[in-house]
Symmetry: C2
DNA sequence: GTCGACATGTAACCAGTTACATGATTAA
DNA sequence: TTAATCATGTAACTGGTTACATGTCGAC
């Protein structure tokens, strides 16, 4: 009654699907491993708290999208490792090919504050913009470092593609902030 | 015990603060009005479901950040209107001036799918990119329309500033998508 | 002897979403 | 008469966060 086949509409959360994707890409892993891997990879496009990963994994097993087994270790705590099943592979692929429902994600505290810029002191406003600029510069730097490392690795191509979005995004913030800061100087 | 003054740490949700901001900017309004105004203004940087607005308003009154009164109407249903208090004005300003805690918001279903592009058919991948491009074009168009309208209105300056972010953002998506699409054509 | 990495979870909470419910008035 | 606008809410749910809890082993 709760298996994948019998359900009419399969709705998995994005986190479940991203975990499924990681299992598909990396093979058998523990929750701990996944968290590590996620941080240094998809982490840039999708994050999950470790408590959530531990919550998601048994759910995937229950639904038949993964299997788990206990691995005993001598010099480390035992661990529970998970492997994606064919059914899991299938929903993952199906989800991947589905169009993304684009809704303009209107949810930026930063822009909200700027929007209310009129109610703010000049210093605070400039501070916000300068901080944003700094922050973007920091990320740009970090991303450029990673870019160097992966740009020629064929296996990281799609990581490289998303990273380039991150770089373009950071550059856009910087350009925008600069423009507004310059403009503010000329305003009374 | 629950009033603003006595609380040590005042933590309001962003939605509560954005509602407070709207009350500060527009004066006395009903929940219904706020929802309308929000859609055509901040809506672009912060959205809230109407049920949430109706939930937030009495909470603001309870905490002393707003007052409400019933307005009887003859040809329309009566309404409850809200007005920001001095205490409300104060927390709003204080919040505005506070630095925004910048965390790289890694939460894009779209980028997550692209990240797993290797597991996807070429058609699906191209489809995702083209759809993103189209979507960005549509928004760009809309934003450019609004830009025309408000660019010279001094009173909309900060709306104009955030709008320009939206425009730059959309343009960046388009440029990025074009680049990747061109690149994919050259790849085996 | 204590710090950091390995390892797994529970519990409480919260912001926000969707769906449901109701009802008046007005313009087409 | 039917649809749209005005007007306000409740209820159920969910995805996700933070904090708490526990313990081993190896390196320094």
């Amino acid at each position: 009654m709760e298996t994948a086949q019998e359900q009419q509409t399969i709705t998995l959360s994005t986190t479940e699907l991203s975990v499924l994707g990681l299992l598909s890409a990396f093979g058998e892993r523990s929750g701990y491993d996944l968290k590590k891997h996620a941080e240094a990879g998809v982490g840039y496009v999708w994050t999950a708290a470790k408590s959530q990963i531990y919550a998601v994994l048994p759910r995937l097993v229950e639904d038949g999208y993964a299997t788990s087994r206990r691995v005993e270790q001598s010099s480390r705590p035992d661990k529970q490792v998970y492997r994606i099943t064919d059914a899991g592979e299938e929903v993952f692929r199906a989800w991947l090919e589905e169009p993304v429902e684009e809704r303009p994600d209107a949810r930026s505290t930063f822009l909200l504050k700027i929007f209310f810029g009129r109610h703010m002191s000049r210093e605070a406003l400039v501070g916000h913009l300068e901080r944003k600029r700094e922050w973007a510069l920091t990320y740009l730097d970090e991303y450029r470092g990673i870019e160097e490392e992966i740009r020629d690795e064929e296996s990281s191509y799609f990581g490289y593609v998303t990273l380039r979005w991150g770089i373009a995004h950071a550059e856009t913030w910087i350009r925008w902030a600069d423009e507004i800061l310059r403009e503010l100087e000329k305003r009374p």
